[in-house]
Point group: C2
């Protein structure tokens, strides 16, 4: 018997009808002969509503109590989901993060998983029940307190359960058909990626692809969990995120388990967006991601002497801000001064500006410039490792479209560029075309007509 | 240092503003030098909203999952209350029923407390924090599952914590000033009772007084907990519910602790509704309660042979219905048949009728009559034990008002009568007057102008 972990997000369980629809899908998975563990998020916008309530009570809610509050959200969705399944004649049991053995450190609001001891979940499966686990939440042994895992927490819950229970596959259900070569709302000819390595997925997620959270991908990669990102509105095969170290047989088995009777790697002629060569040869480029959530800070007139960059980024590090790209201009010989630019989430912008300004005389820079009208585009593909000329092709495509590049940063399997925010969607389309990623048909963004 | 347990119901924490108001009251109690433990209900109508959601998913929700669902309600209110207190600069910690050691049996939806192990609550107090405990909820050790205590559960949580922590007093906050001699909405001259024995309170609660739940009073009585029922909208002294076995000093100490600087048994002339003789001599009558929630079933033409009543009530008992008054007419000698009438909650009426009808030929009765237009009035007072003529005075008052009595039932400290539903409020007023309970001023029903 195979074990499947499924994760359903808030939009999949937004109301009683959605919950019944999800329950039916879970029951079908069980009936197909699988053991099923489900990680579920809070209903629709309920987490935001609870946050609103907290802020009506106090501008800065105590972190322990905020976690206690927010975990009520999944408690509601998981109980409703379990009762929906039971009303369909199948045994189901809901478990809080604590009951499911999601042991974390004590950092409220952003706890890290330190151990997973899903004894009660395993017992429920052994007794033939479907286990419904609250996503996003955990439990600290030292304090005995409830914790939450922060952004993308429910994805992480699902992956951690899949790892601890040695599941055959971890299915991440969402409202799109899988991971696309680019955002289909911007690039109508973006096509669904059939398979992507977790390394490439990490780069895409880190550079703005919204479907999977980077943290869950990291966890899956470290523990060798095969992910299947797919739509909760149809039975199509989605995107398989595989570990580079996994064998072809392991991956194929995961796909078989997950898709049930759907033929593996079907060459169904009615699905022309499926690129047949993906099984034959690793594609050069997996996908292109864009991100409009970042801003750029330029530290102007920094004395070009050793240790200055370190000094600046030590100051920035104290704010906890997540720095992304860093560029240092060549120093002007005449002045002995240089400029250092870096990108960071807009939400961290004000704090970093304030902190740097306070240290201006200590560091000795001339001024700060803040720019929140930037867009980032990242081209990701493991094939870059063995293919020269990718950067040149990228820069040429952007040049021919009249799009100016402001910053460049590269890794082994990724090239990122910063442009003006209002050109990034044009950039995405020309790059998608230039690298031959356009499918033959327009992507169906929402297949939300039920099943 | 005294220890006070306070209970706040859903209407006291209905929104963010109410929560802040309650937090302020709790902080004041702490500042007065007391250790404070709070049992809190779910916000306003949120439990009903969760129930609605469950019924949208399935008509008969699985009891385990329903408890999981409903306990999200207090989780929200207690976390918000704790963060409100913390934002006022006082340490506070919220605890679920499980964390607070409310150990119950496994009967979901109506669990009974089997043990209270409030180690974490005690630790929080020892560290100077205010402990906020979720009312209504518990935990079964055998299954590891979350349970709920059923109707009046939050009152019971408060009393059980007060007993386990050996609190000096358990304050039950509500939207009225205390227990009244009669419902002030019906009897404008009803006056607040300053003190009432738990035995009398039990009879009042069992006969329709809504402010306290009978189960919490029973628990308090069994464990010697002194209750103080008072308004959350002012600082007035409310009603002390004392155990008959408690000494006068114990009760006075509880009152002193609870009222802080308010003089005990003040004879403040601005409070003329306070009857000065209540401290001198036990009053004949504590109060009068009415109840319109019951119906009457009459089993017509029962063979008057031994064992028939037992047979009927064994059948009724199987439905789980809570039978209240039972009256059997004298058998008509000519027929050898008798009628048996009993009252029960209207909500149980249909089930009992169906069950009895199914056994009609077995029992051999002629027919069933169902009457849901009855009202019950109960006169309660420990003074009845040593005073003859109470029944006669009651019946006379009703007769003179032209109110017909349909059933009568008595206990050592209570007389109950059943009348037509539409006469029960008139009955309440004339009885209240006949027994000298009318105060000199009209009662203030809602003092809800905040403070």
């Amino acid at each position: 018997m195979s074990l499947i972990v499924q994760k359903y997000g808030g939009s999949s369980v937004a109301d009683a009808e959605s919950i019944k629809r999800v329950a039916k899908r879970i029951v079908e998975t069980r009936k197909a002969g699988n053991e099923v563990v489900v990680a579920v998020s809070a209903m629709g916008d309920s987490t935001d509503e609870l946050l609103d309530l907290a802020h009506q009570v106090t501008p800065i809610p105590a972190p322990r109590e905020l976690d206690m509050l927010l975990t009520a959200g999944e408690r509601i969705s998981m109980a409703l989901l379990a009762m929906a399944i039971k009303s369909m004649g199948h045994d189901a049991r809901s478990f809080t993060g604590s009951q499911a053995g999601m042991i974390t450190d004590a950092r409220h609001g952003q706890a890290r998983i330190v151990d997973v001891t899903p004894g009660r979940v395993r017992d429920a499966l052994d007794e033939g029940a479907i286990a419904i686990v609250a996503g996003f939440q955990g439990f600290n042994r030292g304090t005995g307190d409830i914790t939450t895992l922060g952004r993308g927490g429910s994805d992480t819950t699902a992956v951690a359960l899949a790892a601890a229970l040695d599941a055959d596959v971890c299915e991440i259900y969402t409202d799109v058909d899988g991971i696309y070569t680019a955002d289909p709302r911007v690039v109508p000819r973006a096509h669904k990626i059939d398979r992507i390595s977790s390394e490439e997925m990490l780069e895409l997620a880190a550079n703005g692809a919204k479907v999977l959270y980077i943290r869950a991908v990291e966890y899956a990669r470290r523990h060798g969990v095969t992910l299947h990102v797919r739509s909760s509105f149809n039975n199509n095969e989605g995107t398989i995120v595989y570990n580079e170290s996994a064998t072809e047989e392991t991956i194929a088995a995961a796909v078989r388990t997950s898709t049930g009777t759907i033929p593996v790697q079907s060459s169904d002629p009615s699905n022309p967006t499926q690129k047949s060569e993906t099984t034959v040869e690793e594609p050069l480029i997996a996908g292109v991601a864009t991100d409009l959530s970042e801003a750029k800070i330029t530290v102007v007139g920094v004395p070009d002497i050793p240790g200055k960059a370190a000094q600046i980024f030590n100051i920035v590090a104290k704010t906890g801000a997540n720095i992304d790209m860093i560029v240092q201009n060549v120093s002007a010989a005449s002045t002995g001064l240089t400029d250092i630019s870096f990108t960071l989430p807009k939400s961290d912008g004000q704090t970093v500006l304030t902190t740097l300004t306070a240290e201006q005389s200590e560091v000795g820079f001339a001024s700060l410039q803040y720019d929140d009208q930037i867009g980032k585009l990242a081209l990701v593909g493991a094939g870059m490792r063995t293919n020269a000329g990718v950067s040149a092709k990228l820069f040429t495509a952007l040049y021919e479209a009249g799009i100016n590049i402001e910053m460049i940063s590269t890794s082994e399997i990724r090239i990122s560029v910063v442009t003006r925010a209002d050109t990034v969607n044009d950039a995405l389309r020309v790059v998608h075309t230039a690298f031959g990623l356009d499918g033959d048909e327009e992507a169906v963004v929402h297949a939300g007509t039920g099943r």
